[in-house]
């Protein structure tokens, strides 16, 4: 970008091959990454064909027989199909509904409040849980919510309420999942909005102050429109992920008592595929999920463009 005016002409007039040879050291720097991505990301994409085959380990992926869509049909007709779809979409829909707006509101509040030290403290503390592992978060849920020993139940007890076995109750699973996620990630989620807010031209605020606008009016008319594109992009990404809820937390929170609502597609793929070794069937379920995700992402992006917002591409 900063090159002198002569450069582009020179670049254009030099043959491609010469420029490539001249850059061989840069390609050398890229080689390990490009190779690893090829082996571990692109090669398995060919392996997706296993979903259309009757995979026999001794025949390998290439040697196994094609059986078309039989695995998919079996999945669609299985009794767990609708339960998995419902569990997956409810869990991520709930998470999106609660978890998406909170960082936006939090960022607006952090941005509004006067007092730089106070603001920094709030940031410092609310970011911290993001660094805690999923295993520890679920472990914390366990100790805090334990029926006999947990703080929550001691509190309920002290108020004269009934002790509740939160982790063993189906109806609590989704709320615990979503709100522990809010506790862990809401603070971290503000970073991107704070960045967008800091990019808003301060002159807009100065002009509004001169015109007698209140803080509230400035938030409503300057800040929120200013971060709207960021909100839209993140919403697209999130909706595109709606069928791709993370495996770890749901898996770790599962137990025999809440499996009816906590079994989601990703945990099902793991269990059927790796524990029961039904590779082909499991791969078909995984592929079905990936395709849905992709379609969702593309359609939400198109929808955003129709609404006049800039999409991802």
């Amino acid at each position: 970008m900063q090159r002198t005016a002569v450069e582009p002409l020179e670049v254009r007039s030099t043959p491609l091959v010469v420029r490539m040879v001249r850059s061989y050291q840069l390609y050398l720097l890229l080689l390990p990454t490009v190779a690893l991505v090829f082996i571990f990301q692109y090669v398995p994409m060919y392996g997706v064909t296993i979903a259309f085959k009757n995979f026999k380990p001794h025949l390998g992926i290439i040697g196994s027989d094609w059986i078309g869509l039989r695995h998919f049909i079996r999945f669609f007709e299985s009794p767990s199909f609708w339960r998995l779809i419902r569990n997956t979409t409810f869990l991520s829909g709930y998470e999106l509904l609660v978890g998406f707006p909170i960082p936006i509101v939090l960022a607006l509040m952090m941005n509004m409040v006067t007092g730089a030290r106070f603001k920094r403290t709030v940031q410092m503390v609310t970011y911290a849980p993001h660094f805690i592992s999923t295993v520890v978060i679920v472990g914390m849920l366990g100790v805090f919510l334990s029926k006999n020993f947990g703080l929550t139940n001691h509190f309920l007890d002290a108020l004269g309420g009934e002790r509740v076995f939160f982790l063993g109750k189906e109806q609590w699973f989704r709320s615990l999942y979503v709100f522990s996620g809010v506790w862990q990630n809401a603070g971290w989620g503000t970073i991107i909005y704070l960045a967008a807010l800091s990019a808003i031209d301060p002159e807009l605020h100065e002009a509004a102050i001169v015109d007698g606008a209140t803080l509230w009016q400035r938030v409503w008319n300057i800040d929120i429109p200013g971060i709207l594109p960021t909100i839209v992009i993140l919403l697209i990404l999130n909706v595109g992920q709606i069928m791709g809820v993370g495996f770890e937390k749901a898996f770790l929170m599962q137990n025999a008592l809440n499996l009816q609502v906590s079994e989601i597609i990703s945990t099902f793929v793991y269990k059927v595929g790796l524990l029961d070794a039904r590779f082909s069937f499991s791969a078909a379920v995984g592929l079905f999920n990936a395709v849905i995700n992709f379609v969702l992402l593309v359609s939400v992006n198109r929808f955003a463009k129709v609404l006049g917002q800039s999409g991802l591409w």
């Binding site: 970008m1 090159r3 491609l16 840069l26 720097l29 890229l30 390990p32 990454t33 490009v34 690893l36 991505v37 571990f40 990301q41 692109y42 398995p44 994409m45 392996g47 997706v48 509040m109 509004m112 409040v113 006067t114 106070f118 403290t121 709030v122 410092m124 503390v125 609310t126 970011y127 911290a128 849980p129 660094f131 592992s133 295993v135 520890v136 472990g139 914390m140 366990g142 805090f144 334990s146 029926k147 006999n148 020993f149 703080l151 001691h154 509190f155 063993g168 506790w183 970073i191 991107i192 102050i209 803080l215 509230w216 495996f247 793929v269 595929g273 791969a283 592929l287 990936a290 992709f294």
Partner: protein, 303 residues
Amino acid sequence: MAVTALTRQDRILNGILYVVLSLILAAVAYPLFFVLIASVSDPVLVNTGKVWIIPRGLTLDGYARIVQHDDLLRGYRNSLAYASVGTLLNLGLTLTAAYALSRRDLPGRNGIMLYLTFTMFFSGGLIPTFLLIRDVGLYNTFWIMILPAGGSALHLAVSVFNIIIARTFFMNTIPQELLDAAVMDGCSDLRFFRSVVLPLSGAIVAVLMVFYAVGHWNGFFHGLIYLRERERFPLQLILRDILIQNTFTEELEIDDENALAAMMLAESIKYGMIIVASVPVLILYPFVQKHYVRGVMIGAIKG
């Protein structure tokens, strides 16, 4: 925002904001604080709900038991090894690739970017990746825990995301004039990367280092999928057995005195384990927070 511009209405709003944000602050901090005080308090007092704000019956018994727990210590050592070697490898790959891609004069640069970013949105999925890893003989090895590949599409997607962050950093901080001058003096690309670019990139190296180290340390899925032997398990897998798998002790009827005491102790040790497992990460965090946030912002602005 200038303070002088606040009207009376603004000051009220500001007051409300202080209260709300303070409550949020407390709600986030309290569970962490409680884990800390519970880990050094008398197990019986903790588990009967007698400890709320200040530690009572100070004791380090829990920690004494933790450091004698062989499984846990081995997991700790394994995770340290995976995290340190893995992070080095990640850093090497990310920085080299990101620098090459930051060069505007690299022929085919956009094509290679596309090749990498495509994998953020589409991957072969769990089963095909697992079969590949198994077929190439990486299953249940040290290497599978440090290679930035395989399993969840996320694992590598994060790396591609980091490549984008580092690339943006290089494009914004390494002036073209520097390269021009170096090239004029006959400096090669590799030499320029090593002697000019890297020394100027302390901030992004710190950010990426923490990014990767935390990822390795906290990772659970990778070990679950690709490791079989307990001797190789990282800390998180061991933690899961201790912290989570025994949830059902609650279903037991508690009548025996000794059993009750043992259960309370077991429950209390968990608080200490949470601390011990999170300490490496939480110690790192304040030192790098500033860089870290900046790094995320760089990536966010032009993702």
